[in-house]
Symmetry: C2
């Protein structure tokens, strides 16, 4: 009889749960669309939002025409039910970001829980169809393991958080693997490459297709004045800004030996030049070029994606002041691959021209890839998919 | 001379970066407040949002009076500069959730990037001061490692994602550690306990204070029809709903042996009853009670937090139909701790009363903790901090 009573209660329980979407009892919005984002047959996107009381709703997406730093905007149209909608033109195969502007205030799409943070802005994202975005989607392939260990940095006298990808089968193997150090830009942290950069999906998918060697990928935090990504350190909740005092000081480059020491003691990595790569975007490209030069016979693969060079010329430091000498030491022998990627409209384009002139002047061998577009994650994901297949192949 | 040119360019570069907050060139909102959330000296909170064109701005927070499933709301007040503000009364020491309502549409706070997803709602969060929230904050203590391995489930014929916490020093040790399996509720996934539940911070902080034994904590995904959290599986971007067809089928309980087999082969865990615990909230409480009974001499510690019981009585399955027999097998000998936590206003309160009556009727020993409040993460975090110190201590 007790059992029967429990059954009755459990039926009610199931109804209760069914009528509430929130795990907690904050009532959820029941007016949401059945899918957050609709990708149409022609690879255009349709977005809709129910907001009957709004005066105006606009959308700002990174596929739109833009004016310098200002993204393009489009007005959304309201139907008689109070649902606003927008459809794009046909899009390329990629991951895209967008925000909405509701009565003048930039917000995330309240009907789409799929979001990423870029510096102090949260974007919604979606993926269109096609060969390139297939590399960015989670596929039914063997998955590597992502972890967030904290490592000691004696140089910086702190514990610091990093993200590490170990390839499928790593844990069951006794083999050693090559290692790529993959560095983020000025606005990023140890999570940037796996959130905005889709590095995990790219690695899983390209390993599954045998397009790249299974490898360990290490993504440290390039701001030495932070120990971890926003919200993951004892700084708590602060206004995120890329203007940290560490930019261009040389401390990232100087302390990088602590990252390598940790990785080489903790993980089964192959500890030689032929099996080490370093790459980074923007500020992380600057870090990569100076770290590779500081340890001139350590990396056989260097990738500079939309790279900055010297970030703060007011700082005098042997890392920067003796860079040209170190570059020459890097040539005896040269890395197997010194890969430079830059977008045609990148605001760092002329910086890149100057850097390549410097390399050419001393006969430093490099590979140059110029893409459409500018200083964007679209390019950095693309560069990663082009850089990875060239690593550790011989 | 080339060098001089680069220096000049780099100066410009630094200015460029300084003027743009976004990593990409979508222009960021420059009107944001200097801190996203202000915790006042009396533990009240002040939130402000710049939205001069908005007609109305309200806030809905889980500290407000509520009516059943409806959260309380408060109007925000606009000053002459177009900035809206709200200040709460003094709050308890805890982590709190909130949303804003901008001209009738529920949104996240566009000036606060600190967010968590609960089912299909994204909340902002903040932490007040005090002893309890100190356990939820990232502190400068040794940190464990969080990882997301995928494991094979032969029972479900799929690869599945889990979250694993290994305590500080695990990797440098050769010792074996006790293991807690920590299960989420109907709206959750393998990330719920580390995002909404602050499990990592609780473990790091309580281990650092020697309040609990260092342990491995395994957080699998309790929805067998999903292989991973939203966005982390090949299902891509879908409307998140807790109404998955797996609820109450017994498949989670049946396939749990695959979770244990993976954990016991991959990690240095102590493989005996005295060193195994299982706990869960709501649906995960139901899972915990049935899994512990299905493997009746496997867990010496069981935690049922706001637990459901039989989730779908229409399903006939030995796991549920023979539960009473299995409970008796669990008594020979009984677990060292069978801990039940329930909030006074939880909608499952009467379910809990019935379940405890069942246990009492067969003289099954248990510990009961009744707290204020209802079916909330505030209670589940609290229960975790109370449950953990009782594990593996003798």
């Amino acid at each position: 009889m007790l059992h029967a009573k429990l059954l009755t209660c459990s039926c009610l329980l199931f109804l209760f749960f069914s009528n509430s979407y929130g795990q907690e009892n904050i009532q959820a919005d029941k007016t949401k669309a059945p899918v957050p984002v609709r990708i149409n047959a022609d690879n255009s996107v349709t977005l809709t939002v129910h907001a009957p009381a709004a005066k105006e709703l606009a959308i700002e997406g990174n596929w739109m025409e833009r004016d310098g730093w200002n993204a393009g905007r489009a007005q959304m149209m309201k139907d008689s039910s109070g649902r606003w909608s927008y459809s794009s033109n046909k899009l390329t195969s990629d991951l895209f970001f967008y925000n909405l502007i509701l009565d003048g205030k930039k917000i995330t799409d309240p009907e789409n829980v799929y979001q990423v943070r870029d510096v102090n802005t949260v974007f919604n994202y979606f993926l269109t169809e096609g060969a390139q975005s297939d590399l960015y989607k989670v596929q039914d392939v063997p998955h590597g393991t992502v972890s967030n260990p904290w490592y000691p940095s004696p140089t910086l006298n702190s514990q610091r958080r990093m993200t590490v990808y170990t390839p499928p089968g790593y844990e069951l193997s006794k083999a050693r693997f090559p290692v790529l150090y993959l560095l983020h830009g000025m606005g990023g942290d140890e999570e940037a490459w796996i959130s905005l950069g889709r590095a995990i999906q790219i690695l899983d998918n390209m390993i599954a297709k045998d397009l790249i060697e299974p490898m360990i990928v290490v993504m440290p935090n390039g701001h030495v004045s932070n120990t971890a990504a926003p919200g993951e350190s004892s700084r708590g909740q602060y206004m995120v800004s890329p203007q940290t005092p560490d930019v261009g000081t040389g401390d990232m480059e100087r302390s990088f030996k602590d990252v390598m020491a940790f990785v080489e003691s903790r993980y089964r990595v192959k500890n030689n030049k032929a099996n080490r790569a370093i790459a980074g975007l923007s500020m992380g490209g600057s870090h990569s070029m100076y770290i590779a030069a500081l340890h001139p016979q350590t990396f056989d693969y260097v990738g500079l994606f939309s790279a900055a060079t010297r970030m703060n010329p007011a700082v005098k430091d042997p890392i920067f002041d003796l860079f040209d000498d170190q570059l020459r030491k890097q040539m005896a022998p040269s890395p197997k691959l010194y890969w430079i990627g830059m977008g045609k409209t990148d605001f760092l384009y002329q910086i890149g021209v100057g850097y390549r002139e410097k390399l050419t002047a001393i006969n430093f061998p490099y590979t140059y890839r110029e893409s459409e577009g500018g200083h964007t994650w679209s390019n950095w994901r693309l560069y990663l998919t082009e850089f990875l297949p060239q690593l550790f192949r011989d």
